[in-house]
């Protein structure tokens, strides 16, 4: 599965674009996070790899801005592996290894749609996605 970030402008909010795409391509789309108001918004979706290119084109044709989600970035020089971010992360992208060193799993990170760990870091070693 691949993660893509889809951005809606105000004019597109009222249209059932995701439903249309799901029905047209008969594909399961997993919406991980969504933040949409009447002014527009964005959502993070998981899409099967084999149909990714096709769907990105389809979404773009409908007027959505499709990008890869920008992930958080951890400055390894600043991080001292306290673990303050671990319980904050909703998807367990931040965990300890056996030696209590912090490990960041990029595959799981929700990036700019979440950013919950950023203000929990006392070392200020995490940059927003």
């Amino acid at each position: 599965m691949a993660k893509i970030l889809l951005k809606f402008s105000e004019s597109l909010v009222g249209k059932p674009i995701i439903s249309q795409i799901i029905m047209k391509y008969n594909v399961p789309i997993n919406i991980i996070t969504a933040n949409i108001t009447s002014k527009g918004g964005e959502f993070l979706a998981e899409i099967p790899d084999e149909i990714l290119v096709k769907l990105v084109k389809a979404f773009r044709k409908k007027g959505l801005i499709v990008t890869l989600p920008k992930l958080i970035d951890i400055d390894e020089k600043e991080c001292f592996s306290c673990g303050a971010c671990i319980t904050i992360c909703p998807v367990e992208a931040l965990v300890f290894d056996k030696d209590f060193s912090l490990v960041f799993d990029k595959e799981k990170c929700l990036g700019s749609t979440c950013n919950a760990c950023v203000d929990a870091c006392p070392a200020k070693a995490i940059t927003s996605g």
Binding site: G83, A84, T87, F100, P122
Partner: protein, 505 residues
């Protein structure tokens, strides 16, 4: 000063013998983690014979830390009255040019981002910092202001002087409220969604010598990557409740930024992470047993930081083994737990200290006075009464959801209030409407309360300090809070006028 003998019972070995072994290169040192394994596998007798020293370590946020510096005299001289280094105000505790950098003092330009802790780290790193000072001027110190750039090499003394470090253990913090809290115990998610703890548990220096048999004034320690000393019990030392602390001192010029790091907790402020380790000489069997302590034997309280009082509600006990496992149970429910201190760094401290002793770079000392074991940590004596919500709350004007808008509007007029609290038959909170909401609804021809009632109501509890209620109103830009109990029954209302009448704001 009276010399206190470490222990009256005959010891298996002395500190002097240990130091001789260090000198001869045949000292046996284990980290506290290694010691526990040895005692478990081979027993107390074997460990007593084989091990001379056990090294401990911790690396955590230690807010009551700071550095005493002497910047030398300028020409003409200045008797500094107020001073700032990198925009962090440093206090002036001495004659003319002695300054104290407090770890939690924040930069005036970048508060919550840069503070005393970062300043100390920057100086240790060898960075140049800006000193700005003002004075009133005297006959002997005529200068009234100065600005200069300094590095640690320009300072006469640069001593870390931490008046409370190395808490033996600390509480586990959770949050019962509906909103996220930002505390010195980190980011606490609403409704018990996480638990934060601090401390190295079985590796903590004071935990490995519970009665402070070998720790006291003059104990040489690992401090910030250099050798430092214990100079007293720390402030708030509370040995009877196993919340012992130490006051320590060390030369910052020899320290390493790897073990002294400035940090900041969002919306709380800045602090200093300190790496600290104490070598425990294994003088007798008791010390073998003490250093064999395990995480599962070290318990601490789970405390609700949702209640901003000195005595916060305790929700149960938990041990460090459970805490370090990554999740604990609160009333049967699994809650993710994580640490604010670094166990990885704590291990590094204990390993480095072990290496120093093995390499004849560190010799043990006998304290000339042990840490007290009987002192108490008293709360503040308060000579002025504190106000709580219960002191100012009054009866709320209420309505139920089935009432006519017109009836509610009449009630607002006759009772002359701005807020009507919506309740159900059990008097439980269902929502709130203001006189503005009613006016607007009538103007728009809406006649059902459910169409415009505010459901997400910010509330207060009667035992809440009035200051907290006031902060809430300011934060959400509202002028009243319904006061409810644990069952969400409405007990009354507190308004911004009530608060300003009492607090004079």
């Amino acid at each position: 000063m009276e010399v206190i003998v470490i222990s009256s019972k005959k010891n298996f070995r002395t500190v002097k013998e240990i130091n001789d072994k260090i000198r001869n290169g045949d000292v046996q040192v284990l980290t506290a983690l290694e010691m526990k394994k040895l005692v478990e596998s081979s027993g107390v007798e074997v460990a007593l014979k084989e091990v001379d020293v056990v090294t401990t370590g911790t690396f955590g946020a230690m807010c009551s830390s700071g550095a005493l510096i002497n910047v030398g005299h300028s020409d003409p001289p200045i008797k500094i009255q107020r001073a700032w280094m990198n925009d962090v105000e440093v206090s002036h505790p001495g004659a003319a040019v002695d300054l104290f950098i407090g770890a939690t003092q924040m930069s005036e330009e970048q508060p919550f981002e840069y503070g005393g802790g970062h300043l100390i780290e920057d100086l240790i790193r060898g960075k140049e910092v800006e000193l700005r000072a003002t004075a009133y001027g005297t006959d002997c110190y005529p200068r009234t202001q100065i600005k200069t750039n300094l590095t640690k090499d320009d300072l006469n003394q640069f001593h870390l002087l931490n008046f409370r470090n190395c808490y033996q253990r600390y509480v586990c913090a959770v949050n019962s409220l509906d909103q996220t809290l930002y505390t010195y115990m980190g980011k606490l998610l609403p409704r018990f969604r996480n638990a934060n703890f601090s401390g190295a548990g079985e590796l903590n220096p004071l935990m490995n010598d519970l009665t402070y048999e070998t720790i006291g004034l003059g104990t040489r320690i690992f401090l910030g990557g250099a050798q430092g000393y214990v100079i007293s019990e720390g402030t708030q030392h509370d040995p009877k409740n196993r919340f012992g602390t130490i006051m320590v001192k060390g030369n910052c010029k020899q320290m390493s930024p790897e073990f002294i790091q400035g940090a900041s907790f969002t919306n709380y402020g800045t602090t200093l992470y300190v790496g600290l380790g104490i070598p425990i000489p294994i003088l007798n069997k008791d010390l073998v047993k003490k250093t064999a302590i395990r995480d599962e034997e070290i318990y601490t309280d789970i405390v609700d930081y949702g209640i901003p009082r000195r005595v916060r509600p305790k929700l149960g006990k938990v041990n460090y083994k459970e805490l370090k496992s990554g999740s604990i149970r609160i009333s049967g429910k699994k809650v993710k737990a994580s640490s604010l201190s670094s166990f990885k760094k704590a291990k590094q401290v204990s390993e480095l200290l072990k290496l120093w002793i093995e390499n004849q770079e560190f010799y043990l000392t006998t304290p000339i006075q042990r840490l007290p074991t009987d002192t108490e940590f008293k709360p503040m004596k308060q000579t002025q009464e504190t106000s709580f919500v219960s002191n100012v709350m009054h009866d709320a004007v209420t309505c139920t959801e089935d009432e006519e808008i017109q009836t509610i509007a009449n009630r607002i007029v006759t009772k002359s209030v701005n807020h009507i609290i919506v309740i159900n038959a059990d008097k439980k909170l269902r929502g709130i409407v203001t006189s503005w909401d009613i006016t607007k609804a009538m103007a728009e021809g809406k006649n059902e309360l459910s169409k415009f009632v505010t459901r997400r109501v910010i509330t207060a509890k009667p035992e809440e300090p009035l200051e907290t209620a006031s902060r809430k109103m300011a934060k959400y830009n509202i002028s009243a809070l319904p006061v409810i109990n644990r069952e969400r029954k409405v007990l009354g209302i507190v308004t911004a006028e009530d608060v300003s009448r009492l607090l004079g704001k």
